[in-house]
Amino acid sequence: MANFVQQVVSGLASGGIYGLLALAIVLINRSTGVINFAQGEMATLSAFLCWTLMDHGWAFWPAFAATLFLSFGGGLLLEAVVIRPIQNGPLVGIVILTIGLLIAINGLTTWIWGGAAKQFHGPFSTAPIRVGGVAFSKQDLGVIVVAFVAVGLVAALFARTRLGLALRAVAVNPLESRLVGIRASTMLAVGWGLAAALGAVAGVMAAPSLFLEPNMMQTVLLYAFAAAVLGGMESPLGAVVGGLLLGVVLNLAGTYVHWIGGELRLAVALALILGVLLVRPSGLFGRTALRRA
């Protein structure tokens, strides 16, 4: 029984990381209609930036703030320079472009910082807290809290601010948005910038437990996609809840179904993606979109 609870708690901790990255993916999807395959690598790059600042003596919070700014700027720049020229072209071109970004950013990170795993000291203590035979750390709690805070901020942004309204408008109908005076291209860039900043949060939260190295987020990416799909690709809350749920399901499946064990967890994530997309594409929290042909 203790092991069951432990697996659930550990699952929530890993799931928080999946949820944060999923949040970034959902944000880009919701504001620009693109699925960004490079989201994980961008998050890793941000984490490395933060690490470098701390390595030069900065304390965590200033380094983190600077990283957020830099990541936001980086996302803006990427959208303006690389995505915008082909935004209206064939879908397959955009897919390949984000994949090219995935490869290039991974290479850049390896080139600058090398492949060896580095220790990352996050803001929360990793000292274990043990309650009734179950162990977790402030770091784990911190990840989950940060994830929900992020959801709250994103939801508030979309629902309560003019910026959020403009972002949503542009995503739904760029042409008509322009007619009411919204600068569509700026909004798209802002969407990418925000997502990049969210990705930075994901990377920085993940690094203390996953260990900072260029391939840190590669597997997390697929889990994040699964979480985003599970929660509904359009729902920020769904992304985080989906992530937490996924983390727990993976742990329980891996522990109690011997056949899955430690080797088939990715397959479970895939099964979830396929199952949700085919049976209930709007996920747990999304709204079913009607397509008028």
Partner: protein
């Protein structure tokens, strides 16, 4: 018109002949009056990129030897290609090295699966594959079928056996063992040896859990192992997964006696682990780790540091993989020297199966490189070491690691 056609045909014919000529091998491929060309393949990119240190270390040592005149008047041209730990790329690389670069021999090919994939081909065309960076027992065993292949590292299965024997000797009655292993041939090889070493007491193992190298973390697996109630924890894992195993054991408040495999035992990795958990961990060693106090003032590690500084830009002198590569390269140079001025592939295999090297500066004193035509495990002795106060302390003397 006809003249043009004739000219065209002549040109095509010349090209064809040139093409054929370029492809046909000289008397002994890869050997000229001034150079010996040897080739290798390893994971320069990808998940296992740390292991490529072996190739870089060897390259550094060869450059050092070349700067001192080379071997019997010839310089060593070491060509190594990236295979990203994908054995089919290893096959392609080896094909290229043999058919396009005309290498004299293959040396230090990294990875068990890669070596297995190329074994049939290399033996069919008679190209030596010597001192492969793998400890898979089969490379020393199946020499009758594959006479051109020989490994180098101490056999993984024996490593597992030694840990098992140590457990039996120190805690034979009360040990309850949990094992985390990488679910591929490497991990299974070590685990199989471990089980064999326990013999009749195999039931001391209360739980084994594997993980796929594509996993993001092994927290769940470690939690499962702790829940089995074990007091001994064997970690047969690579790089970051080994680190995570220590971290999560610490987090869960689990304090077992830990055994960690050689490939994750470099001091640089061990120092990243929570020290309260890592204290007392046991592993094996055969190559000198420069961070180990015993070898701090050692001529071999000093030489390694010089080579890293001069020939391996960006290399970390404490990187155990670099030292392993230098050790292999030292043995290779020995074998090339012994093959004499008239270098042939057969001659190299002869030298490689009659090794008796006791002075390898990169190997732990007492560990010899010894082979005979019927005993093809170049390194078959190791020493146990214990992690104490942030560094390794070898103990117990050099023991046999013969399979």
């Amino acid at each position: 018109m006809t003249r043009n056609l004739v000219a065209l045909a002549a040109a095509a014919l010349t090209l064809a002949l040139a093409g054929i000529a370029a492809a046909s091998p000289s008397a002994t491929p890869g050997v000229s009056s001034s150079t010996i060309t040897i080739g290798s393949s390893g994971p320069l990119t990808g998940e296992a990129a740390a292991a490529a240190g072996v190739l870089k270390g060897a390259d550094g040592y060869f450059k050092y030897v070349n700067a001192r005149g080379g071997v019997n008047g010839r310089k060593i041209d070491f060509k190594f290609l990236d295979d990203g730990y994908d054995p089919s790329r290893t096959v392609n690389n080896v094909r290229q090295l043999i058919q396009q670069d005309n290498v004299f021999a293959l040396f230090g090919v990294v990875g068990t699966n890669g070596n297995l994939a190329i074994r049939d081909f290399a033996n069919a065309v008679g190209v030596p594959t010597v001192f492969s960076a793998s400890g898979a027992t089969t490379f020393g065993r199946e020499y009758k079928k594959y006479p051109w292949t020989i490994g180098y590292l101490p056999p993984y299965s024996v490593e597992g056996q030694l840990y098992a024997k140590h457990i039996l000797a120190t805690n034979g009655k009360k040990a309850k063992i949990a094992v985390l292993y990488q679910a591929d041939d490497y991990g299974k090889d070590v685990l199989a040896g471990f089980r064999k070493g326990l013999g009749a007491k195999r039931s001391l193992i209360v739980q084994t859990v594997g993980y796929d190298p594509t996993a993001s973390d092994v927290q769940s697996q470690v939690a499962q192992l702790k829940a089995s109630g074990a007091n001994t924890f064997a970690i047969f894992a690579f790089g970051k997964f080994a680190i995570q195993a220590f971290v999560y054991a610490n987090k869960l408040g689990w304090k077992p006696q830990i055994y960690v495999n050689d490939v994750a035992s470099a001091s640089s990795i061990m120092q990243l682990d929570p020290q309260s958990t890592a204290e007392g961990t046991i592993s094996i060693l055969w190559g000198k780790d420069p961070a180990t106090p015993k070898f701090k003032k050692d001529a071999g590690t000093a030489l390694a540091a010089t080579i890293v500084k001069k020939y391996i830009p960006g290399g970390n002198p404490s990187d155990g993989f670099l030292i392993a590569g230098m050790a292999e390269a030292f043995s290779m140079v020995d074998a090339l020297k012994a093959s004499g001025k008239n270098l042939t592939r057969k001659g190299l295999m002869n030298a490689v199966t009659h090794m008796n090297e006791a002075n390898n500066p990169f190997l732990v004193p007492g560990v010899k490189v010894h082979t005979t035509p019927t005993f093809r495990f170049p390194i078959a002795s190791v020493q146990l070491q214990r992690w104490h106060s942030r560094h390794w302390e070898p103990f117990g003397g050099v023991q046999s690691a013969k399979p």
